[in-house]
């Protein structure tokens, strides 16, 4: 019996099996991740300014922090502005794309990947359907929104709103 277990061939086979099964599990996980590509409506891009390459195509990139005049002067950066400027998120080579901290290009339609680099727990909640408005079917297809549909990426704090009218107090006429 003992001799049977100590056969080197069997031990090697055992390790090969472990390796193989772990590879399978990893493969399965990546497959799940791909399947989890979340369907979102098109990003809220301004037709006057997008694609950015319309103007920026042949323009030299100026990465300097400066007051914007003539163009984009309506953009107020209130999003870790001390540490960041345009090129922190917008790509300077491919002007119609964003990029992650590690330089990977990210399309505007997948901007949540960019946001999720810093806001990991929010991204996780959003994927689970907890963060953000959900419409569609509770038992079927759910409709998601991109971060940028509700939060201005340059100034992401949710804006204050005017409330709807208060209810009429009992005994009071309209």
């Amino acid at each position: 019996m003992n001799k049977f277990w100590f056969k080197p061939g069997l031990i090697v086979l055992f390790f090969v099996l472990i390796l193989f099964s772990s590879l399978l599990v990893i493969g399965q996980q990546t497959a799940d991740k791909d399947k989890m590509q979340i369907q979102v409506p098109p990003p809220p891009l301004n037709e006057d300014t997008f694609p950015c390459s319309m103007c920026h195509g042949d323009m030299e990139t100026n990465p300097e922090r400066r007051e914007l005049v003539d163009f984009h002067e309506n953009i107020v950066l209130k999003h870790d502005e001390e540490n960041r400027w345009c090129m922190a998120c917008h790509d300077d080579k491919n002007r119609d794309m964003l990029h992650s901290a590690s330089g990977e290009l990210i399309d505007f339609s997948e901007s949540y990947k960019l946001c999720g680099q810093c806001h990991g727990p929010k991204l996780k909640d959003w994927e689970a359907g907890i963060h953000g408005r959900r419409t569609g079917q509770w038992n079927g297809e759910k409709k998601y929104l991109l971060c940028a549909h509700c939060h201005n990426p340059h100034s992401p704090k949710f804006p204050h709103l005017k409330p709807e009218p208060a209810p009429i107090k009992p005994g009071k006429k309209k």
Partner: protein
């Protein structure tokens, strides 16, 4: 001590049965005098749960005709039963709600509440952050230029759809009950308007039609459910049904879709992959007035 026994001879007409018969005859005569067949049928209608399929179909036909005439458009009154293996739960993110009251008016539009006298199923309470969840000093009538107001947070309250509902227990006629999907419903035609349920509800979630409800024809939502948003009459109690007419079709309640900050979540508690289960398993959750053992299925949570 001897116990006095009262016996009734079946042949003798006692006072009670005489009065019963007399009342029935006279009211039937009074109704017949009106000459309105629909009114007689409505008066004689039994409670919803004891009705046969044929009778329900007849009632629905009558109601649809009545509403179509009153509001000048085609109405559907659904009697769709609960979806099997569903038990609904609702969650509201207190760390997100900004008190904009969009849910209140989305609910009014969806559920045909009376515009005058005004009736709201959702009540948004403004509370001070310093005091925490405190009902005594909560303000329902806040009126700021912008919300959220500095130093305040908001707690919207509607029916909590308790697993142990005091309203259902208090109803003397059984006009309100919990359906198998967990929605607490009311049969408006069987409600006698005694308001016992309102006294029993610790959340102030039930509302009485003190006056004849008014619903402008152009605002009426014609997609209705018998136990939900069909137009109500004077003298009956009503409350949130989690948009029974929508959720039994797989849709989200109107308030969930209206909330601009996405604070409102809805789903099936029996589905382990649902949003609601994720919240219960991963977030800090509280229920209102837990000590009363009403066991609400309406969970308040903090996502942050």
């Amino acid at each position: 001590m001897s116990i006095q026994k009262t016996t009734f001879s079946p042949k003798k007409v006692d006072r009670r049965s005489f009065l019963k018969a007399a009342a029935a005859t006279s009211s039937a005569a009074a109704l017949a005098a009106c000459g309105d067949k629909a009114a007689i049928e409505e008066f004689l209608q039994r409670d919803f749960r004891s009705l046969s399929k044929e009778k329900i179909a007849k009632i629905i036909e009558r109601l649809e005709a009545e509403y179509a005439q009153k509001y000048g458009k085609a109405f559907t009154v659904s009697t769709k039963e609960p979806i099997p293996e569903t038990f609904f739960g609702y969650a509201l993110d207190l760390s997100r709600c900004i008190g904009c009251r969009k849910c209140v008016y989305a609910c009014v539009d969806e559920n045909n509440q009376s515009r005058d006298p005004q009736l709201h199923w959702i009540q948004v309470l403004e509370m001070e952050k310093e005091k925490g969840v405190d009902f005594i000093d909560a303000n329902l009538y806040y009126d700021h230029e912008e919300v959220p107001h500095e130093g305040h947070f908001y707690v919207p309250i509607a029916c909590q759809h308790c697993k142990n509902p005091p309203c259902v227990k208090s109803c003397p006629v059984g006009a309100t009950w919990t359906d198998s999907d967990g929605i607490v419903v009311i049969d408006y035609n069987w409600c006698i308007g005694c308001r016992c349920c309102m006294a029993a509800c610790p959340y102030g979630a039930r509302h009485f039609n003190w006056g004849r409800p008014t619903l402008p024809a152009e605002d009426a939502n014609p997609n209705t459910h018998y136990l939900g948003n069909r137009p109500r009459m004077k003298g009956v109690v009503e409350k949130c049904t989690w948009c029974i007419q929508r959720v039994r079709e797989g849709r989200y309640p109107a308030c969930v879709e209206a909330c601009p900050v996405g604070a409102r979540k809805f789903g099936n508690l029996l589905d382990k992959d649902s949003e609601i289960r994720y919240i219960l398993e991963n977030k800090r959750v509280l229920i209102l007035r837990e000590v009363l053992n009403t066991q609400p299925k309406f969970y308040y949570f903090y996502s942050t």
